[in-house]
Each structure stands twice: as structure tokens, then as C-alpha cells.
């Protein structure tokens, strides 16, 4: 089965629509959302409606730190992030807020694990930026493959049978076979706010039959997404960074 995985949509309607359409064209049969569907972006209402509809159709979801902050505290975030959360709280209705409040931190799916950040203490929202955090995450689970987001930059880590870590920056569209002899941690790039210098929206396709993981990049209408952020009176920096993917 081909699974489409999306992380860090961040209320970017244009990027999310483009990725969903691309994944359908590729033949994806399942949708997994790895958290942070809201925050930063200008279309939380539309994105939440879409996400809730996907959930009804059987999509798997986990909680992200921005999703949590809607019903909790945004104190750990930077100024722009806090401003966006304050505004998003006023935008979302009761139903959407309750939906976010009910999301789990992790979801298991056979020998796959879905989580927003580092998996040993998912509630701490630790960024997996090196083999150090990746090793902590892999040590805490038995899953063959862990999928996470939060970093906004694609990366792929593995742990060998001899307990050695490897790290790799994936090449777009080059499938990597996640060999069964080792355990893997796939960090997804962001759908709605890429930060690896490539402004195209990022998501992943995982083929459970072949074990191939493919990192995809989808160009989308950045200008429209940036305009929405400015129209809502959110910090202009959140719009500017979309153009550069920083």
C-alpha cells in the first residue's frame, strides 16, 4: 500500500492542496498527518475543515506543538509563532479546537510509528536535527520505521544491527529502500513552511510492499499563500520566508 505522509502543514492551504493532489496522482491510498496542521499560515479554517474530512475518511493524525498550543500555552514559541497562535485561536470554532485537543501524541500502525517530534518524550517537542536525537528516538521504540516532522528539513536516519547511526539528506524523487535489517527514522520536510532553502512543499510517499520511501517536492502558489498571511494581519516575516523556503 502507498501511504502519503504530511507534516507541518501550518495552515498553508495552497501548499496542502498541491501536495494532496500530487499524492492522489501518484496513487496514494492512505493519508497520515504528522502534526502542526495549524500555526504560521493564513488559512487555518480551510485547512482544519479539510483535515477533519480526511480524518473521517480514515486518515491517521498525531498532535503537533502548534496544535497543542491552540488549547494550551504558546509560551515556548518565538514571537511570530505566538502571534499566529493567538490569532488562530480566534479563528477556529469549538469543533475544530476540540478535534485538535483530542489528537494523540503518537500512533502505531503495525511496525510503523507516527509522531511529531523526537519519540522518546514526544511531549517535549525535541527537534531531531542530528544522529544524537535520532538515536534517542530510535532507542525508545521498537518500530521498524518512525516518521516525524517538526524540523521542516528532510532527513533520513538509520540504526544498524550493530547499533551504529547513519544520517542522510534525501534526494527528491529518488526512492530509498528502507532495508528490513535496520531501523529507520524519517524526518519529513514541511508542507506549509519549508526551511531547507527549497520553497516547494515537501511530503513523503511510503510503499509498504517494497519498503521504498520517496521524498517529494511540489511547487505551489507561494504568492497566494503569502498574500493570505498578510491579509490576516500576521507578521510579514511569516509570508516572506515562504518565498525563500527559510
Amino acid at each position: 500500500m502507498l501511504i502519503a505522509l504530511f507534516a507541518d502543514v501550518h495552515a498553508n492551504r495552497q501548499a496542502f492542496e498541491a501536495c494532496l493532489a500530487d499524492s492522489r496522482d501518484c496513487g496514494a491510498q492512505r493519508v497520515v498527518l504528522l502534526g502542526d496542521v495549524v500555526g504560521y499560515g493564513g488559512d487555518p479554517d480551510w485547512v482544519m475543515d479539510r483535515v477533519m474530512a480526511l480524518a473521517e475518511d480514515g486518515a491517521t493524525l498525531v498532535l503537533g506543538n502548534h496544535d497543542e498550543a491552540i488549547n494550551g500555552s504558546a509560551s515556548g514559541m518565538n514571537l511570530e509563532g505566538r502571534i499566529a497562535i493567538e490569532w488562530t485561536r480566534t479563528e477556529l470554532g469549538r469543533h475544530a479546537r476540540d478535534f485538535l485537543a483530542a489528537l494523540p501524541l503518537t500512533q502505531h500502525d503495525g511496525d510503523l510509528l507516527y509522531v511529531h517530534a523526537e519519540a522518546s518524550h514526544p511531549e517535549r517537542w525535541t527537534y531531531v536535527v542530528s544522529t544524537v536525537e535520532a538515536a534517542d528516538s530510535l532507542a525508545a521504540t521498537q518500530a521498524h520505521v518512525t516518521f516525524c516532522g517538526h524540523v521542516h528539513r528532510p532527513a533520513l536516519y538509520s540504526l544498524s544491527a550493530t547499533a551504529k547511526m547513519t544520517s542522510f539528506t534525501p534526494t527528491t524523487d529518488a526512492p530509498v529502500p528502507l532495508l528490513p535489517g535496520r531501523r529507520w527514522l524519517a524526518v519529513l520536510g514541511a508542507v506549509g513552511q519549508p526551511r531547507d532553502g527549497n520553497p516547494a512543499a515537501a511530503y513523503c510517499l511510503f510503499d509498504t510492499a517494497s519498503g521504498n520511501l520517496t521524498y517529494r517536492r511540489v511547487p505551489y502558489d507561494v504568492e497566494a499563500a503569502a498574500t493570505r498571511i498578510l491579509q490576516q494581519g500576521l507578521p510579514p516575516f511569516l509570508a516572506e520566508r515562504l518565498y525563500a523556503g527559510r
Binding site: 538509520s158 532495508l179 535489517g181
Partner: protein
């Protein structure tokens, strides 16, 4: 733990073990068959058990990832893989030819035969590098020849694939490879420079043409490190009749700094196939090793440790072979200036590219042509001189420039044949101006553009104001 496979007749996933053909330290090779699959196949089964060298497992994993991603005549075809959880194995095409290892008792080989073997291996390497892979273990036992003569590279257990995680690099901080063939940068931990394979091929060419290994057989890290700064004895000091062109090529392959070697395997193949066109430098005649001062300076090389940023495929793409067809005959004049402009512009953006200037000497299909013209001049030499004069203002380093007068009844066919044989990446050709001649004789550029195995740029002279 997986159950060891060692009984003929054992069947796994439909593959029947027929005969054990090789038993090495890291793996066993079985000849296998399967109903519905007609091809001769080998199954590689890693030795896994108590005390298995972790390198054996990781290199098998690398091969399991890389082999299915490769295709073409220069690699064994991939059929199937079994995973580590049950029984790890790889099933691939059994190459119906011979291993280069078989030639070791005949060394040293004649120079022209060494060059021929070198061309075949360089062509296979070019093909591999274009598929994003650096082999990193080029040596006679990993090279086979198909019955049609094409070289096949086997064993990708130490290879680097640009688009896949490099498990060897991450797992082991020490270099892996075969001591006599390992390049200096590989010793320093660089695994994504395709020129490392050119170094190993240089070792092989040196060995096959002299009977001696350029860096000996030392397996110690200390012994191997000597090559980081010490150059080998020039082949001419071992065999006085060693041709200068071959020494030029072999010593260029063995340069300590990758930047001083051929930029690509295709360019190396080009030199090996055109001995007369090899630009001879001081390297070609030398009888002694470099002075100590040069060797000492190499101790401060940064080229060997600087990480390679560009992907393997773009490193290759930055050094294409460009062929320009120049009509230096009577009709060519108006277009040649325009062709020169385009050539100069393309070369300016690609400092590693090499240029082959072509001219076709049309021969009659029926009569036996004289090589002399009406005035008694040699036509081929005359054309070569004019080709070189056309190219001279490009001011190219002579190593980047060659001139070739091809003979044939059909100019387009001659150009196409040259392009295919020399792995040309881009052909530049002028369009005939005279519409009457084009109508009667057919357009050479149109045929080349239609049938070429590579990109073609058709150039026209600017319209007169």
C-alpha cells in the same frame, strides 16, 4: 538468525541452488535456476552468523540497495533480493564471459591490448558514474567481459550511490577498499569522487602494462598512506620501450590530486582510444619520480579531504565531450564564424569540457580515392591543419582539444559513428546555407540531429542585414 544456505537442491523463494561456484570470506555464490526464468543466474548469500564481520553485513546491504537501481550492459542484471529477517540473498545475472583476473598470469600485456582493455573499463565506469554511483573497488576480480567485449563491473558492496544513504561511510570511519588500488582521497575518507575509480583504473593499467603494482601490495595503513604524497616509479623506468602516450595517460590517472586526473571516465576512454591525439607533457617522458620537494608539498594537499559538494552526476555533466563538425572545405566558410561563436560560448561555461573538432573527407563509394589532391598535397593532413587553425583562437589547453578527419561516403553517418564510439555528449554542427545543395544532397545536420545519441545544436550564420 537466518538458517545457513549450503545444500544443493535447497529452494528459496522459487530459486533452486544448483551449484556452489565461489566461497569467499564475505559471501557464497550459487548458480541458481527458477521455473519461468530462462536467464543464467547467480545468488549471492552473505555469511552471517556468530562473529560475522559487520562490514560484510553493511556491504551486503549496500549492494542490496544499489544493484536494483542500476541497468545497462555494464552491470549484472538484478533479479531478486531476500531480506535479512528471513534469508538475505541477491539474485543477479551470471555474466557469460571471463573475469579479468584470468589475465594475471600473462602480465605484462602488449601496450595496445592494455589500452583496449582500458577503454572498455573506462566506458563501463562512465556508464556507472552517470547512474550516480562511484564503484570504489575497481580491480581485476571485479571486472568481467561479456562475449561481445563489453566490460561488466561487479560487486557494489563498497560503492557509493549519491541518492542513497552511504551506510559504509557512516558505519566505519576507516576506509574500505582493496589496498593496492585505493585512491589517496578514498584513504582520507572521501567516497563520492568519481575520479577515485580513475585512479584505481590507472593502477590496473600500470600493473597490466608493467607487471608491477605502482604502490606495491602493502596492506598496512602506513604503507598505503605513502601514496598520499609519493608518486609511483614512471613505467618507462621499468620498461624502456613504454610508449610516452601510455605513460602520459597512466600517470595522469595516478595523480595524487583528483583535479589533475582526467575529469571523467569518458575523457579517459577518449585518450585511450586516440593515442596519437594524446597531448604529451613532461609526464610522458619522465624516468624518475617527482623530486622530494614536490612530494613534501603534497603533504599539505587539501584536495584530498575537502568534501565534494556536487553530486556525482553533476561532476560528470560538468566535463562533457563536445564534438564540433567544421566544414573546412570550400562551402563551409560562411557558417564557420557562427559555429566558432557558439563553440566558444559553450566552452566558456564548462572549463572541464573537451572539444573534438571533426571534418569528414568524403570518399567515393565506387572509385578508389587518392589521398592526394590535384596539387599532390595530402588531403587529410591539409584538413587537419585547417581544423586546428579554426580552433586555435579558442585558446584551449591542448589536453582539451583534438582534431579528427573522418572518412566516409556519408558525412552524417561518419559524424554519428564518431559520436557513438567516443561517448560524445553534445554535437555542434552548421546547417548548410545553400538550399539548392540541401535539396539535392540532403541535409547532414538534419540527419545528425535526428539520429544522434546525444544533444545536437544546429547553428546557422546570422542573416545579413
Amino acid at each position: 538468525m537466518a538458517r545457513p544456505l549450503h545444500d544443493p537442491g535447497f529452494v528459496i523463494d522459487g530459486f533452486r541452488l544448483d551449484e556452489l561456484v565461489h566461497e569467499g570470506g564475505m559471501a557464497m555464490l550459487w548458480r541458481v535456476s527458477k521455473d519461468g526464468l530462462d536467464a543464467p543466474m547467480l545468488m549471492k548469500v552473505p555469511r552471517i552468523g556468530e562473529g560475522t564481520d559487520p562490514a560484510a553485513i553493511v556491504s551486503f546491504e549496500m549492494e542490496q540497495m544499489i544493484l536494483p537501481r542500476l541497468d545497462g550492459p555494464h552491470v549484472p542484471k538484478f533479479f531478486a533480493a531476500g531480506d535479512f529477517a528471513q534469508q538475505p540473498y541477491l539474485v543477479m545475472e551470471a555474466i557469460g564471459g571471463v573475469s579479468l583476473l584470468k589475465r594475471l598470469p600473462d602480465l605484462p600485456l602488449p601496450y595496445d591490448e592494455v589500452a583496449r582493455i582500458g577503454v572498455k573499463i573506462a566506458e563501463a565506469l562512465d556508464d556507472l558514474h552517470r547512474q550516480h554511483v562511484v564503484h570504489l573497488d575497481i580491480k581485476p576480480s571485479n571486472i568481467m567481459f561479456r562475449p561481445d567485449g563489453a566490460a561488466v563491473l561487479i560487486d557494489f558492496g563498497l560503492s557509493h550511490h549519491d541518492q542513497l544513504p552511504d551506510l559504509m561511510q557512516e558505519e566505519f570511519r576507516i576506509p574500505f577498499g582493496t589496498a593496492p588500488y585505493m585512491s589517496p582521497e578514498q584513504l582520507r575518507g572521501i567516497r563520492n569522487d568519481p575520479r577515485s575509480d580513475l585512479f584505481a583504473l590507472g593502477v590496473l593499467l600500470y600493473f597490466f602494462s608493467t607487471g608491477e603494482r605502482p604502490f606495491g601490495e602493502s596492506e598496512t595503513l602506513r604503507g598505503m598512506r605513502r601514496r598520499l604524497w609519493r608518486d609511483p616509479k614512471p613505467p618507462r623506468s621499468l620498461r624502456p620501450d613504454y610508449p610516452p602516450w601510455l605513460q602520459e595517460i597512466v600517470l595522469r590517472c595516478l595523480e595524487v590530486e583528483p583535479g589533475r586526473r582526467h575529469p571523467t571516465a569518458a575523457q579517459l576512454a577518449f585518450d585511450l582510444s586516440h593515442p596519437d591525439e594524446v597531448k604529451l607533457t613532461a609526464r610522458s617522458e619522465k624516468l624518475t619520480r617527482d623530486p622530494w620537494t614536490t612530494a613534501m608539498r603534497r603533504r599539505f594537499n587539501t584536495d584530498l579531504t575537502t568534501p565534494r559538494k556536487a553530486p556525482v552526476a553533476s561532476q560528470i555533466a560538468s566535463a562533457p565531450i563536445i564534438a564540433v563538425a567544421v566544414d573546412v572545405g570550400e562551402q563551409g566558410a560562411p557558417i564557420n564564424a557562427a559555429l566558432f561563436e557558439v563553440t566558444a560560448r559553450i566552452l566558456a561555461t564548462l572549463p572541464q569540457a573537451r572539444l573534438a573538432c571533426l571534418n569528414v573527407l568524403k570518399t567515393s563509394a565506387i572509385a578508389i580515392d587518392s589521398t592526394l589532391d590535384a596539387q599532390g598535397h595530402n588531403k587529410t593532413i591539409d584538413r587537419l591543419v585547417r581544423l586546428k587553425a579554426w580552433a586555435a583562437p579558442l585558446k584551449l589547453d591542448e589536453r582539451r582539444l583534438t582534431a579528427h578527419v573522418l572518412e566516409g561516403t556519408d558525412p552524417a553517418a561518419a559524424i554519428l559513428e564518431f559520436a557513438a564510439a567516443n561517448r560524445v555528449d553534445h554535437i555542434l554542427i552548421g546547417a548548410r546555407q545553400d538550399s539548392f545543395r540541401r535539396r539535392v544532397l540532403g541535409s547532414v545536420s538534419a540527419k545528425v540531429a535526428t539520429e544522434a545519441p546525444c544533444s545536437v545544436t544546429v547553428v546557422r550564420a546570422p542573416r545579413e542585414a
